[in-house]
């Protein structure tokens, strides 16, 4: 946790949002990230969420939330109407992550994405040594009930961005327990548990 009270990954995301920016948060959950962005960075914007309970929580937290299915794309929004489009820990749970990344840079000047790195060494070990589907703090579901249907690694993500002509502006990697570490920066695809990216259309 940081001084903002947000988890480290969300704190980094918040630091990437400029003062007074207009943001869209895909899968905004209880709306607390947006709430923080509204309060600390005078941001404005909306959250999209599919879970009814979280929609009530977002509204209760004073966040404008639109019930939406991200798998249907972002057709409610015109091109380039947001400064930043944020998606935290949701990329791996959507049906067409490739199309959604393109949608993000269509409606926003910049995209911000965080996801669990499936090549994290503990996950590799889980599969290699125990022969079981990997589970960790960031990936806590059993294989038969996981919403995470499109897991990827840091390398996979960067290759996809290149294919899609998406330019990566910044990358941060967090290791175990959302800590930044020397090893994670040195060998991100091995020691990074959470990957954070800021990108735009090149």
């Amino acid at each position: 946790m940081s001084t903002s009270g947000l988890r480290t990954d969300l704190d980094i995301v918040a630091s990437w949002v400029g003062k007074g920016c207009r943001v869209l948060d895909l899968g905004c959950g209880d709306g607390l990230l947006l709430r923080h962005l509204f309060d600390s960075r005078q941001a404005t914007g909306y959250g999209l969420e599919i879970d009814p309970e979280k929609i009530s929580q977002s509204i209760a937290n004073g966040v404008n939330v639109i019930q939406s299915d991200l798998d249907q794309g972002l057709s409610d929004f015109d091109d380039q109407v947001f400064d930043q489009v944020i998606m935290t820990q949701t990329l791996q749970a959507v049906q067409r992550p490739r199309e959604l990344l393109l949608e993000m840079v269509r409606v926003g000047r910049e995209g911000i994405v965080t996801f669990p790195n499936f090549a994290y060494y503990r996950l590799r070990a889980h599969l290699a040594l125990r022969g079981r589907m990997p589970m960790s703090g960031a990936l806590s579901y059993g294989w038969y009930e996981t919403p995470n249907i499109h897991l990827c690694t840091i390398s996979d993500f960067e290759i996809l961005c290149e294919e899609l002509s998406i330019r990566i502006l910044e990358r941060r990697v967090l290791s175990h327990n959302y800590q930044q570490s020397f090893a994670g920066n040195l060998l991100p695809n091995l020691f990074g548990e959470i990957a954070l990216y800021r990108f735009c259309q090149s």
Partner: protein
């Protein structure tokens, strides 16, 4: 008091009437020399009149939105699910006002009222009114009650559309808009249903071109048919299956080979139709459906709803129900899209429910929760 009411009900309420003696110009070109509005209020208006919520009723609704008129009332007001202590429109916090629309048949001036010029009931001579006319008349009610700005204007179905019209016509007088199961305009299918309903009434031999009050007749069969048709469209297929299926009144599979009521769904529709006839006026039904058909705020802006809403500065809560095919989620989404296009403060919930259009009247938990969360977020200090 012999009867006690549920703790979350406003309890016993009495309607009031206010007369406006200045002429009211209507969209259709007519002028009403004077008119009355019947209304009810629940809760207490605060000192700076910042906690008032206007509730707008749907097609067949009335000003009796919550509570009971008498100890032996079988049913409470139509929006009992949402109005009362601890409910979304929390009467411990808000002063809730609901008026019978102009042209109605429950106390506000309408076709059954006496035309001061002739001394006879208006009947078919009562001018057609629009949703804008309703807003105009309700603004006079707001003045009468000393309410400069509503903390919220809320409604379901036609009432939700009226709430939108409020924000468009009098943007400074509406802090928040709640539009449930509404639509930016009626679809061709909607208008078609309304037209069948109107034809059912108008082709009843006892309609007498709308002057049935003078003859002592009433187009009962036509109005009943109109209501039966309406009821089918307010329920979802799933709700009908769940509620009636193919259940028969008598032994299942034992057919009478005649046209008596056999299936439960027939019985239900006939009962709904017949009880409606006792409490509703056919001319009002015609007028209300026409007001719905005409509603289209985007029409004045090249069909662009966003432009119609551009000058509003309310916060919006829009909700729809998954099984509502009368005003489906896609209609609400169109409203949301227009609000997003113009950077309005808006939240939208698509409530999972099998109840069809009627769900807006029901205590669907997710609906009440999101609606409550929105209402709790209203800052009364900021609405004055």
């Amino acid at each position: 008091m012999a009867t006690s009411y549920p703790a979350d009900s406003v309890g016993l309420v009495s309607p009031q009437t206010v007369a406006f003696n200045a002429p009211l110009e209507l969209d259709g070109g007519h002028t009403l020399p004077s008119f009355e509005l019947a209304y009810e209020t629940y809760g207490t208006l605060n000192a700076d009149a910042s906690n008032a919520v206007l509730v707008c009723h749907a097609l067949s609704g009335t000003h009796h939105a919550a509570g009971y008129h008498a100890n032996d009332d079988r049913k409470p007001g139509w929006w009992e699910a949402c109005i009362g202590p601890g409910k979304p429109l929390d009467t411990q916090r808000f002063f809730v006002v609901c008026s019978n629309n102009l042209g109605g048949c429950h106390g506000s001036t309408g076709p059954t009222s006496l035309n001061p010029e002739t001394g006879q009931p208006y009947g078919a001579d009562f001018p057609l009114v629009t949703v804008r006319d309703w807003v105009r008349s309700q603004a006079l009610l707001a003045d009468h009650l000393g309410i400069q700005r509503w903390a919220a204007v809320a409604g379901g179905s036609l009432g939700g559309m009226q709430a939108l019209q409020w924000a468009i016509d009098l943007p400074d007088r509406v802090a928040n808009v709640v539009a449930i199961a509404a639509a930016p305009r009626l679809s061709a299918q909607n208008i078609a249903f309304n037209e069948v309903a109107r034809q059912a009434i108008r082709s009843d031999p006892e309609f007498h071109e709308g002057r049935y009050q003078q003859t002592g007749d009433r187009p009962r069969r036509g109005l009943m048919l109109a209501r039966m048709l309406g009821h089918i469209t307010y329920l979802s297929e799933a709700a009908m299956r769940e509620k009636f299926g193919r259940d028969q009144r008598g032994v299942s599979g034992d057919y009478g080979y005649n046209f008596d009521v056999e299936f439960e769904v027939e019985s239900y529709l006939r009962y709904q139709g017949q009880s409606f006839v006792d409490r509703f006026d056919a001319n009002t039904y015609l007028l209300m459906t026409k007001a719905l058909d005409y509603f289209d705020p985007a029409a004045d802006h090249d069909g662009k709803l966003g432009q119609a809403l551009a000058n509003t500065h309310s916060r919006y809560f829009i909700a729809s129900f998954t099984s509502d095919w009368r005003f489906p989620p896609s209609a609400s989404r169109e409203i949301v899209r227009a609000l997003l296009d113009t950077n309005k403060s808006v939240s939208y919930a698509e409530i999972d429910s099998d109840h069809g259009h009627d769900a807006f009247l029901m205590p669907v938990p997710q609906y009440l929760e999101t609606f409550s969360a929105f209402m709790r977020g209203i800052d009364l200090g900021a609405t004055a």
